[in-house]
Symmetry: C2
Subunit: 264 residues, 2 copies
Amino acid sequence: MIKRVVIIGAGNLATQLSLALTRKGIQVKQVFSQTLDSVKELAQKVNAEFTNDLSCLMTDADLYIISVKDSAIQEVLQNLSLDKNNLIVHTAGSISMDVLNGYTNNYGVFYPLQTFSKNRETDFSRIPICIEANNPSSLKKLQELAETLSTSVQQVNSEQRRTLHLAAVFVNNFVNHLYVIGSEILLDKKLDFNLLKPLILETVQKIETLPPIEAQTGPAIRNDQAVINAQLRQLQEFPEFQKIYNSMTESIYHIHQKQPNELL
Amino acid sequence: MIKRVVIIGAGNLATQLSLALTRKGIQVKQVFSQTLDSVKELAQKVNAEFTNDLSCLMTDADLYIISVKDSAIQEVLQNLSLDKNNLIVHTAGSISMDVLNGYTNNYGVFYPLQTFSKNRETDFSRIPICIEANNPSSLKKLQELAETLSTSVQQVNSEQRRTLHLAAVFVNNFVNHLYVIGSEILLDKKLDFNLLKPLILETVQKIETLPPIEAQTGPAIRNDQAVINAQLRQLQEFPEFQKIYNSMTESIYHIHQKQPNELL
């Protein structure tokens, strides 16, 4: 049973995961980050010790959660000086579990499929937590820990997790960027972004009752060249938004050409 | 005061607008569509007469709402045989009010900024209804009508409406297509689209508390080339999704380069 955790990292996910574990009575004993300000801030929030030196990590925690940017995981691992039986996980969508092989006998992945902000409290209760481990006892521990946070615990291998992360980039990162573009387009003409919010909300609510392919509307699916060309002209001061408009319009048109008519 | 309306068109917007007007006690007296099946279906829903012949339109309605695809508006107008004092509006985001000039002395636009489906009932109460008219008395009538449906009635000129429609294409049509892509990517690996729903929901909920530019996360904003290149390889069987990935990634990176650091 996991009761004492060390968090390596102090970013958005590290912060929200530390807070969620603490709320469930699991002790975050120590947090590490190279950035002293960040690690102090997080340590204070969860009443933990902090360090910016990996050689100062406590060695008797039940679990070490590496939640740093993907490109820093290897460096963290190379500088850990833990016991070979310590359970270590990372939280990265796109990084294989095998990256942990050789550093300990017990390892895995603990990937909550969600977007996190430092200052927006995350409710983990319905977030799919995707877990993977290199042996049954580690898997069982991670399963129990995940179940204290969420009702949606998923055993997912590294390839499936990579796929989920790719899809997440489209439905979160790119969707959010479309909101940015919407707000930029309106700002440019001094119109209020709030006017778009009922539409943004309905766009999401629709997919609770309709598969997204059936919810598609707009000039691209109608192949309405007059509107498409006029809108591309409106975007002439935003060449990057034009590129997005073109790639989206082509893709919408083609994917719906491939669908049976009744879906249109 | 508008009490009796003729609806020209039987698509998604025509259907939901007819239903909403009827619920508020405004009579939809007659509906027109070239497609007899569609117009019969709509007429039945709102207890109206129907026709597929524009020369059979009743001539004494208080308002004629043209809600057909943009490219058909001109043709409808050319075949109307109404009195020169009849009030006529269209509902198109991208079409100037002036298209109605010459066909009647009283005209305008009635543009609800929302996405509509035939079989999903629309609650109009918070939808921005953007109105425009060629004279004060017509504007007053449209304002009163819009206020019976919604608390968010906006006087918007044709250029502003075009801008709103362009932004709407990004935050609705394109966002929905990203949901389609997410579901296609998961389907390809036999993963369940429902796993993405908490993430999709949180992505929207975030913009209630954070401007979207501050909510951005992911490999593009971090300029994480390892993840970006790996994800482009994952998409090799979906060349159109690759194009979208590239155009989004470039745009996210550049727009955030232009923002002050504290927004990152």
